[in-house]
């Protein structure tokens, strides 16, 4: 019995011994031999902002190459929306980018309204702007909280979520849900805001305004924060343009491109606010841009709530307006008794509209539309195609996070693994939007 061969060659692993998922990872694994090690920073990881898997090729703490693998949260929302009516699509669409539900809803509803050729009433547009900008503040607070947690400022997590709770209380008081509201509908809003909405918003704005200096005392000149974020993850303007990057990451590279200014929607051009930019193009610049954006959003909200017009919140056309005027009905919240008396007793036509809208929804004229809004992460675009029936033919969503995953490799080459965490955090990807 000859002695087993223990020479280095025999012990070295050959390619197929590495049991990899996926067809062509073998070439990466071959890099094992020249001193680099290929390892997964996988879907279940505390600092990948959701289920993002990064196949890292490391040379002792220095990142040589990053291969993002996505799809671990693919929910098939776009296909599901094709089997639901136009109004039901709102509930699917709001679950895509779960940190900015109002942006998804408003972008989808604007696209449908353009296809229908109608416009939401003035009051509905102003409320949409208020809720969207507050949603931007909440999304930036979650970004600040999780990035602080990842880079070691654990207390930032507590402060960030404390403020967000205040915003979510307001959302819940208006739409009934803390997240995934389905509050915005094609043609306006599902129901009007509560009478004390204006005062609550003003109180919220002053409270949030007083808290921002607190964060800046904590982080602005914190040596650890500066060390971890300055000069990390450089992406200059041309690279941004190549990779199709928009939003705070692009503005941190010095380009003042903001859809709220260049292609305004929902009447946002009547409020004055400025678009914060920075020239650092690194993680610290993105931190500064996002902090300034929180202030600007609060500015917009306070102007919008002062200019809140009266009137209806849903378009007048009965063929589109969602019928149920929610109120206290005989057995709790539901159709108010007057409405029931109106459709059952007074007008046959209202009954037909109610029945048709509730059973199969309204038909949208054939055509295709691309509607984009400025979401907290960048340009969120809805390419909606209708073939004249009551169901969308195709709803494609251009999500900024999906586009921001690509430059991770370019931004992190030569950095340490710890900086890779800072770079992925500075891009603020939300996997719900990436995987749709």
């Amino acid at each position: 019995m000859t002695a087993p061969d223990r020479s280095a060659a025999a012990l070295a692993p050959d390619a197929d011994e590495l049991f990899l998922t996926g067809a062509d990872w073998e070439e990466i694994a071959d890099a094992v031999h020249d001193g680099t090690i290929t390892i997964n920073m996988g879907p279940q990881h505390p600092s990948t902002h959701g289920v993002l898997r990064l196949v890292l090729e490391l040379e002792a703490e220095v990142v040589r190459s990053v291969q993002p693998v996505i799809g671990y949260l693919h929910t098939g929302i776009e296909k599901n929306a094709e089997y639901r009516t136009w109004v039901q699509g709102v509930t699917f669409v709001t679950r895509m980018d779960y940190l900015a539900p109002f942006f998804n809803e408003v972008a989808y509803c604007l696209a449908v309204e353009r296809l229908l050729g109608i416009e939401a009433p003035e009051r509905a547009q102003t409320i949409r702007v208020i809720l969207m900008e507050l949603n931007r503040v909440a999304s930036h607070l979650v970004w600040l909280a999780t990035t602080g947690l990842e880079l070691g400022a654990i207390s930032m997590m507590l402060y960030g979520f404390r403020e967000r709770e205040a915003i979510l209380d307001l959302f819940e008081s208006q739409s009934g849900l803390r997240m995934n509201h389905a509050y915005v509908r094609p043609g306006g809003l599902v129901q009007d805001v509560t009478p004390d909405f204006a005062d609550r918003v003003r109180g919220l704005v002053t409270e949030l305004g007083s808290r921002i200096p607190e964060y800046e005392d904590l982080l602005l000149k914190n040596p650890i924060w500066l060390e971890r974020t300055q000069g990390i993850g450089i992406l200059d303007a041309d690279q941004c343009r190549e990779f199709g990057v928009t939003g705070p990451v692009l503005r941190s590279a010095g380009v003042a491109w903001d859809l709220r200014k260049s292609q305004p929607y929902c009447g946002i051009e009547q409020y004055e606010f400025d678009v914060p930019t920075d020239t650092g193009a690194d993680a610290y610049a993105r931190f500064l841009v996002r902090m300034e954006e929180i202030r600007q959003s609060l500015r917009i909200v306070s102007q919008a709530v002062d200019a809140l017009p009266g009137g209806e919140v849903m378009v007048a056309d009965q063929k589109i307006a969602w019928p149920s005027k929610l109120g206290l009905g005989p057995d709790g919240i539901g159709n108010t008794p007057e409405y029931i008396r109106h459709i059952m007793g007074e007008s046959m036509e209202a009954l037909i509209h109610h029945f048709k809208l509730v059973t199969e929804g309204f038909a949208v004229p054939a055509g295709q539309v691309y509607q984009a809004v400025e979401s907290p992460r960048g340009e969120l675009g809805y390419h909606v195609i209708s073939n004249g029936t009551t169901k969308p033919y195709r709803v494609h969503v251009r999500d900024p996070s999906f586009v921001h995953i690509q430059p991770i490799d370019v931004m992190t080459r030569g950095h340490l693994v710890a900086d890779l965490v800072a770079v992925v955090a500075s891009l603020d990807p939300v996997m719900g939007g990436v995987d749709r």
Partner: protein, 169 residues
């Protein structure tokens, strides 16, 4: 060589069981298995306002080796299912699974090709929490009910409740 495996079932050890279960249930460390919108609500529950630390769930362990409870928070896609099963297998015993939200419990509104219609297809689930996403109070209510369930467990149950077939990798 766990002694617990070989202890006889029966009334002799009820006090010991009650003591051990009390110890286990009052410091369940959850594994961070946040997937989608429920993960944000889970983080909100863990943050200062709703504060999961009051139930001994002070810290969310990233690695399954140090976690007792896996909160499946969000929709489980077909690509994520083997990963979830692997993480569950790599968790140290005794372990429990709380399926948070309707998407984890039954596929929820995404009845399509991409989503696993209920996480109990691949892992034994101890507690289902409804809601989309469940409010932090609902999640805490689910956790408190899970604590009560753990308090009534017997040593012998462990051998049958969680049949651990190895995943055929």
């Amino acid at each position: 060589m766990g002694l617990e495996e070989r202890l006889p079932a029966g009334i002799l050890l009820t006090n010991l069981e009650r003591f051990v279960n009390w110890g286990r249930s009052s410091s369940l460390w959850p594994a961070t298995f946040g997937l989608a919108c429920c993960a944000i609500e889970m983080m909100a529950t863990g943050a200062g306002h709703y504060d999961l630390a009051r139930f001994g769930m002070e810290v969310f362990r990233a690695s399954p080796r140090q976690a007792d409870l896996m909160i499946v928070a969000g929709r489980v896609s077909q690509k994520m299912a083997p990963v979830l099963r692997r993480i569950y297998d790599q968790m140290a015993d005794p372990k429990w699974v709380l399926s948070m939200g309707v998407c984890a419990s039954s596929g929820g509104m995404f009845n399509n090709y991409a989503i696993l219609q209920g996480v109990d297809h691949i892992v034994p689930v101890d507690m289902y929490v409804p809601g989309c996403p469940p409010r932090p109070e609902m999640l805490m209510d689910g956790i408190i009910k899970l604590h009560d369930k753990i308090r009534q467990e017997h040593f012998a149950d462990g051998r049958t409740a969680h049949p651990d077939q190895p995943v055929d990798a």
